[in-house]
């Protein structure tokens, strides 16, 4: 994306200007402070919860589950997507099953997972893996399908075996699209960990936010959401960093053409 950085100042200025307005409205009870606690109180709550280790703990618990499910999805779906992309028969065999399972909205997998795994970590990991699987699988498949034939011929003329062609040509050539799938799944991962913790858990950031609301600790609830936003932002940046270091060649390539 090519947003100008100069324009960011305007928005920041507006945000900063809004904070005292919010603060004032809330303190003078022009808006209900139960719904809109003063910004300073939210920040104070965020600060205290961070110092006490409560928020970091909840985030950490959630992140563990999230990443376990995410990696599981990647480990299963990247190889499967490559196999489906290389052997059309395999794709055709699985096509209808995939088309049946894909429209299931991921949240309703939570009850199924609860049935199988109870309320533990396995339940959340399963749900997250199920939901993250689709973008990775379909993008990998697409990426492999669109590997240039000339590239494959080039490999063969140099005596590359089928197995080696996968590691030396198919995988690197499809990697940009695999990464696209992984990126989409990263957002889904965070959504699903929150959902599964809201529906069936006694810890984790999703549980924390909902529980704070139920006990009317509204500043805590907002503090939890703030930490979620920060986590989401950090994960995204981390992913971009990884993306740019692994796929520097692709970035240059797309810019060149």
């Amino acid at each position: 994306m090519k947003w100008n950085s100069e324009s960011k100042l305007n928005g920041l200025a507006l945000l900063v200007a809004l904070l005292p307005v919010w603060e004032g409205l809330s303190r003078t009870e022009l808006v209900n402070p139960l719904f809109f606690p003063p910004m300073t109180r939210i920040l104070r709550s965020f600060f205290l919860l961070t110092i006490s280790g409560d928020l970091p703990y909840q985030i950490l618990v959630s992140l563990q589950r999230a990443l376990a499910g995410y990696l599981l999805a990647a480990l299963v779906c990247i190889p499967l997507g490559i196999v489906m992309g290389l052997w059309n028969q395999v794709y055709r065999m699985l096509e209808l099953l995939i088309e049946m399972a894909r429209p299931i909205p991921p949240p309703v997998i939570v009850p199924v997972a609860m049935l199988f795994f109870g309320l533990g970590d396995e339940m959340k990991i399963f749900v997250i893996a199920f939901s993250c699987a689709w973008p990775v699988l379909l993008n990998t498949y697409d990426g492999v399908r669109s590997v240039d034939r000339v590239l494959m011929h080039t490999g063969r003329t140099f005596g590359l075996s089928r197995g080696m062609a996968i590691t030396k040509i198919v995988f690197p050539a499809a990697l940009p699209q695999i990464m696209t799938g992984l990126r989409v799944s990263l957002g889904i991962m965070l959504i699903l960990v929150v959902i599964s913790e809201m529906v069936g858990s006694s810890d984790g950031i999703g549980y924390f936010v909902l529980d704070s609301q139920r006990r009317f600790k509204v500043d805590q609830m907002y503090a939890g959401m703030l930490s979620l936003a920060l986590t989401g932002y950090a994960l995204n940046q981390l992913f971009l960093l990884l993306y740019n270091s692994i796929l520097a060649w692709h970035k240059g390539l797309t810019r060149a053409s």
Binding site: D148, R156, T157, K168, L175, W249, G252, L253
Partner: protein, 258 residues
Amino acid sequence: MHLLEVEALSKSYRQIGGESTLAIGEISFQVEKGEFVSLVGPSGCGKTTLLMCIAGLIPASSGMVKVNGAGISGPPKNLVLVFQEYNRSLFAWRSVLGNVLFGLEVRGKLSREAEDRARHLIGLVGLEGFERHYPWELSGGMQQRVAIARALAYGPEVLLMDEPFGSVDALTRLELEDTLLKLWQELKTTILFVTHDIEEAIYLSDRICLLSRRPSRVVRGIEIRLERPRNQLTTRADRRFVELRNDIYRQISDQAVK
């Protein structure tokens, strides 16, 4: 024994309707060790298909390809194909050096010597200093130089080239032709070159195989007895060059009318 022998090779395709069409009909020719041979024919005569068959990338419908007297099944070890589409055949995720090392890596011969050899070849194609660059940072002509260096680093006995200079501009093309001749003379690699550019074929080759329209056959073999080293100005101005060109042109356009 000939280094490369094509015996009565034909290739037909099944069309969607189920009918099969003959793209190549019974082609036979030989290439001797160290020779530079060009295949020339009207466009759409199946030159690329023929080359793919010789490279073992697609199976022939009938006939045979022999290298050093032995029939091939699949890509032979001592033969490499350079494609016209350099931008599609280079590995965008590998540097110039990484691309040139590819063939050696596949053979499991990655070593200090291999890298020296790769660097030497990069120098020979005139890309010294670009080892760490990525293909997309280079111009089209430079990319094709990388592809040529990559093929030669593999140390093939026969280099097959499919209109390698078909997608570069005219000036670059002349430069690349001279680079190729220099490499050929230095490395003594046998080259089988496909082009539809008659002058290019005459300028480069020892011998030209003239192909007919689909289903293509060898119409005629033409020895090119112009002195080497050749020169873009004097060779092309030579009376024999012009006569050869007119002669071949007439034959091809006769083909096209029929």
